[in-house]
């Protein structure tokens, strides 16, 4: 980690020196080669992507995710062997699918996300986070017409989370999505707010000690998990006192 940071710092310092362009290229090439041997090739786009991710997470709206989709698309085209930009592009489209209300657009975003996930799986088939995202994609598909697709995609979503859990049981997003799915699942299928509480507790416990592998490795979910946890808690206490529960969302 420390070594990687040094590589980036070296580059940054050089950026501010207005010297001959050829020299820059020459030095950059050397520095990059050095930093690559030390830390791998990924680090350079990290700050660009990080900025875009942060912007997306500022407010849950279409534009924010659209710029993330575009930014990660540009990175994808350059860093073809890295799963992370594919991951974020898919992540952005899935979220756009959730935000969008036009059915055909929702479908289009989901189809696009599926293609991107396929690419990401090709690069790193053993990445737990990609399975988490696949599960999220099924939830997005389900949202298109829950009455018809609900039961089918719920099952698939749950299967993807199982796979994610096999690869990395310490991935907090697994339990966050599981909790969210249980929360909005009819009791008929074993769901409900009360049933979701232990899952949110688990995810929040993991988040407490969670350190992302880098500044751009997936780290989302904690804030929402804690919000939903509070909502479930509130509902379960209300239910105990036999009051009408507040409306979901």
């Amino acid at each position: 980690m420390a070594q990687r940071r040094n590589g980036v710092t070296a580059l940054r310092i050089m950026k501010f020196k207005k010297i001959n362009k050829m020299k820059i290229i020459f030095f950059a090439a050397i520095t990059i080669m050095v930093s690559q041997t030390i830390a791998g090739s990924d680090t350079l786009y990290y700050s660009v992507l990080k900025k875009s991710i942060d912007l997306a997470h500022q407010e849950y709206k279409l534009d924010n995710y659209r710029q993330l989709a575009n930014c990660s698309e540009r990175i994808c085209l350059v860093y073809k062997d890295d799963w992370i930009p594919y991951y974020y592009q898919a992540y952005a489209y899935i979220n756009m699918g959730f935000i969008e209300t036009d059915e055909s657009l929702m479908e289009m975003y989901c189809d696009k996300a599926r293609e991107l996930l396929d690419e990401a799986f090709k690069i790193n088939p053993d990445e737990s986070e990609i399975y988490v995202l696949q599960s999220m994609l099924y939830f997005a598909r389900m949202a298109i017409s829950p009455m018809i697709n609900g039961p089918l995609y719920l099952q698939k979503a749950s299967g993807a989370l199982d796979d994610a859990g096999k690869l990395d049981p310490g991935n907090p997003r697994i339990y966050y999505l599981r909790g969210k799915s249980v929360m909005y699942t009819p009791k008929f299928f074993g769901g409900g707010k009360e049933a979701a509480i232990p899952l949110f507790e688990k995810t929040l416990n993991i988040f407490r000690n969670f350190k992302p592998r880098s500044i751009v490795h997936p780290a989302w979910g904690e804030e929402d998990a804690s919000k939903l946890y509070d909502e479930c808690k509130a509902a379960s206490t209300e239910q105990d006192s036999d009051k009408q529960p507040e409306k979901q969302e």
Partner: protein, 718 residues
């Protein structure tokens, strides 16, 4: 590594040198002068780029110089590339993006097919629809009767498709034909499907023009595919007024085992509620299904499915000629085993093969006369599919179906009779799906069948064509020749009877958006070489011939909508049909007795959050069914009054001792309509010259079902 270095260098250069900059700005619009919002505008090979704003405008600042390419991409549009020379100035770009072509995802010819339960987008009904189906008590297949093209023949049961009889629809499990898909028939009691679609991954119901892979069906096929890999371990019990059902699934690394055991006894139900039948012994049935799957190799899967069922009942049946109650008893044992293998050879060959064995023995005792019918059959099948390209696949295969039939008639006194036959049918088929043009795909194939017993060899062509009118809609055309050996009882009297034929012409339009489906379909069906017989000499071989014929034509509508009403979901089917036949012992050409001209079914389901429940209501309407009243005229058709049935089901979800529980209650015919399916007449007039008659009534005027389902393993798989 070098691949990565160059762009990084470029990135570095553009952010590094601030003294020379180029601005690229402009707007992105559609062909219709609408702004494209959120398009991605970037310089190829760099990660430097920007997005277009609400007005489609953008501005991109770069330090690079030289010849580069500006790329504009946006989901839903074709990517645009524009070469630019960067020279420290401002470049104005106004780009028009072309919309993507309509995407044709796969070649699917939809005409006349309904998919249910499969985890695909084209499904019309899902498993929850089957589980919460309000109409058709105790018959899991009855949900198919809520689809258009089917007739409501409440006294018969089974599927009557587009003017076709029940036996013109064949049930296929894992690619192989089921010998006796329905329970044995008692007069006035509708038959039920032996297999619950709930046990299957998906069901495809084709009401005509189906694939050359399937033969020996004049009207329709119901294709059921058993579950490949269950999602998880499961155990549950269902207890209801007249029986109990246990289900369980155990999953291992590479294999799994599922079982379902069911016992039903209608005694309590018919004693508490009404019944129109005078039972001596209320129907009792036992059903055991076992399914196991084993992964073989990397992509291969072997499946075995076995089903055993036992049915007993006896009733008093009023004989209009002797004017006495006959005691009829039924005992039926049925076994069906199917094994199938599906796997790949090399990269793009798919092989599927299967073998099945079916054994059915039906003992009917009528006033101490015994009729014992034994049906045995086996089938072997091999299918190879080659995916040549995205636009072409070919499929071919062969099939051997051997049927043994034995019918023993032992009267109380006098000679006993025996009829039997053995009939092997060897078939080969070929079929190819081709995408001819971007929007047009076709399925062309044919099936050759050789029937040894009647010394026949024939070829049935099958063609369908689909034209995508938009991303969500298409028009399909279908044509095919279909053939089927005559009903086994007739064939046992006369082994030389030829194969019956039909011909289908179909035109279909459908529009699918995920939560709304609309279909309209018109068809014409021609029947030829149907069996005719003279009822006076019903067991003499020469009384039977192939001189019957008929036709059916009609229009089917289907609309499903789960969007318009919040938490609500409904579908409506309407079929109008005109059909005439002269077959069996008909004395003139008329509409078949089982067929109503208009059939409507409307299903509405509503989800209630608190208390958590599903309410589903179903309304079925059929116009009057034809019958002949010899008191009026032996050559004139009368119509019964129309059939109306409003059913209601409530499913409530809760937990009992922490276990997921569903409590359900169903009532049929809430309004208490006196539905009549037709009339039976005495074969001779009585002393006053009148043919005595009795109406054919439903088993019960109104039925009730209450029960509960408890899952020991959490939510059930749907």
């Amino acid at each position: 590594m070098t691949k990565a270095i160059i762009p990084i260098i470029l990135l570095f250069v553009q952010t590094g040198s601030l003294f020379c900059q180029t601005t690229i700005k402009g707007s992105i619009q559609t062909g219709k002068n609408q702004p494209v919002i959120g398009a991605n505008i970037y310089l190829r090979g760099t990660i430097e780029g920007t997005n277009s704003d609400e007005q489609g405008n953008f501005s991109l600042l770069t330090d690079l110089t030289g010849d580069m390419t500006v790329v504009v991409s946006c989901i839903g549009y074709k990517t645009h590339e524009e070469p630019v020379g960067l020279q420290n100035d401002t470049i104005e770009l106004n780009i028009i993006l072309a919309e993507n072509d309509i995407e044709l995802k796969e070649i699917v010819v939809y005409a006349s097919t309904f998919e249910a339960g499969d985890k695909k987008k084209s499904v019309v009904l899902n498993k929850l629809d089957m589980a919460t189906n309000p109409v058709g008590f105790g018959d899991a297949l009855s949900v198919m009767r809520t689809l258009p093209g089917t007739s409501n023949a409440g006294d018969e049961g089974g599927l009557f498709v587009r003017g076709g009889e029940q036996n013109e629809t064949k049930t296929i499990i894992d690619g192989l034909m089921v010998g006796s898909p329905y329970t044995a028939k008692m007069p006035g009691v509708p038959v039920r499907g032996r297999f619950s679609p709930m046990l299957f991954r998906g069901t495809v119901f084709s009401t005509g023009g189906y694939s050359a892979e399937y033969g020996q069906a004049l009207s329709s096929v119901l294709i059921m595919n058993s579950i490949d890999t269950p999602e998880k371990d499961e155990a549950g019990v269902s207890l209801f007024l007249s029986g109990a059902n246990f289900i369980g699934t155990k999953k291992w690394e590479k294999s799994s085992l599922s079982g379902s055991t069911q016992y039903i006894n209608m005694y309590p139900s018919y004693n508490i509620f009404n019944t129109n039948i005078k039972w001596d012994r209320e129907p009792e049935s036992f059903n055991q299904t076992i399914a196991c799957r084993q992964k073989a190799g990397k992509r291969g899967l072997i499946k075995i499915l076995a089903n055993y069922s036992l049915d007993n009942s006896s009733m008093y049946y009023y004989d209009l000629d002797t004017r006495m109650d006959d005691l009829i008893s039924l005992n039926n044992n049925d076994l069906f085993i199917v094994t199938s293998y599906k796997g790949t050879i090399g990269k793009d060959w798919i092989v599927s093969s299967g073998a099945s064995y079916s054994f059915d023995i039906e003992k009917v005792n009528m006033d101490e006369d015994n009729i014992e019918t034994t049906k045995q059959s086996y089938e072997l099948k091999l299918t190879l599919t080659k995916i040549v390209s995205k636009n072409l696949n070919i499929k071919f295969g062969g099939d051997l179906l051997n049927k043994d039939y034995l019918r023993d008639y032992v009267p109380l006194s006098g000679n006993s009779y025996e009829w039997k036959y053995n009939s092997p049918v060897i078939s080969a088929f070929f079929e190819s799906e081709i995408r001819i043009m971007k929007r047009i795909s076709t399925r062309i194939g044919g099936r050759a069948e050789s029937v040894t017993m009647s010394d026949e060899l024939y070829v049935s062509p099958r063609i369908s064509l689909a034209y995508k009118t938009s991303g969500n809609s298409q028009i399909s055309l279908g044509y095919g020749n279909f053939s089927e050996q005559p009903f086994s009882e007739y064939l046992s009297y006369n082994n030389k009877l030829k194969t019956e034929k039909s011909e289908h012409f179909i035109i279909n339009y459908q529009l699918i958006k995920e939560s709304r489906i609309f279909r309209i379909e018109a068809y014409y069906k021609n029947y030829d070489r149907l069996i005719k017989y003279d009822s006076l000499y019903a067991i003499a071989p020469e009384a039977y011939n192939n001189n019957g014929s008929g036709y059916a034509k009609g229009i089917d509508f289907f609309y499903r909508d789960s969007k318009t009403i919040k938490n609500g979901d409904f579908w409506i089917s309407y079929s109008v049909i005109d059909s005439r036949r002269n077959y069996r012992d008909y004395s003139f050409t008329h509409a078949p007795f089982f067929l109503a001209t208009h059939n409507v079914s409307l299903i509405y389901k509503h989800y209630i959050e608190r208390p958590e429940s599903y309410i589903s209501a179903g309304y079925e309407f059929s116009s009057g069914r034809p019958y002949i009243d010899p008191n009026i005229s032996p050559s004139e058709i009368q119509r019964t009054k129309s059939y109306n049935n409003l059913s209601l089901s409530i499913f409530h979800f809760t937990r009992i001792f922490g276990k997921f529980t569903m409590i359900y209650a169903q009532v049929s015919n809430i309004t208490g309509n006196r539905n009549v399916f037709g009339y039976r007449y005495a074969s001779h007039p009585d002393e006053s010259g009148v043919y005595e008659s009795v109406p054919v009534l439903p088993v019960s005027r109104r039925s009730y079902l209450i029960g509960l389902f408890v899952s020991f393993t959490g939510k059930p798989e749907m």
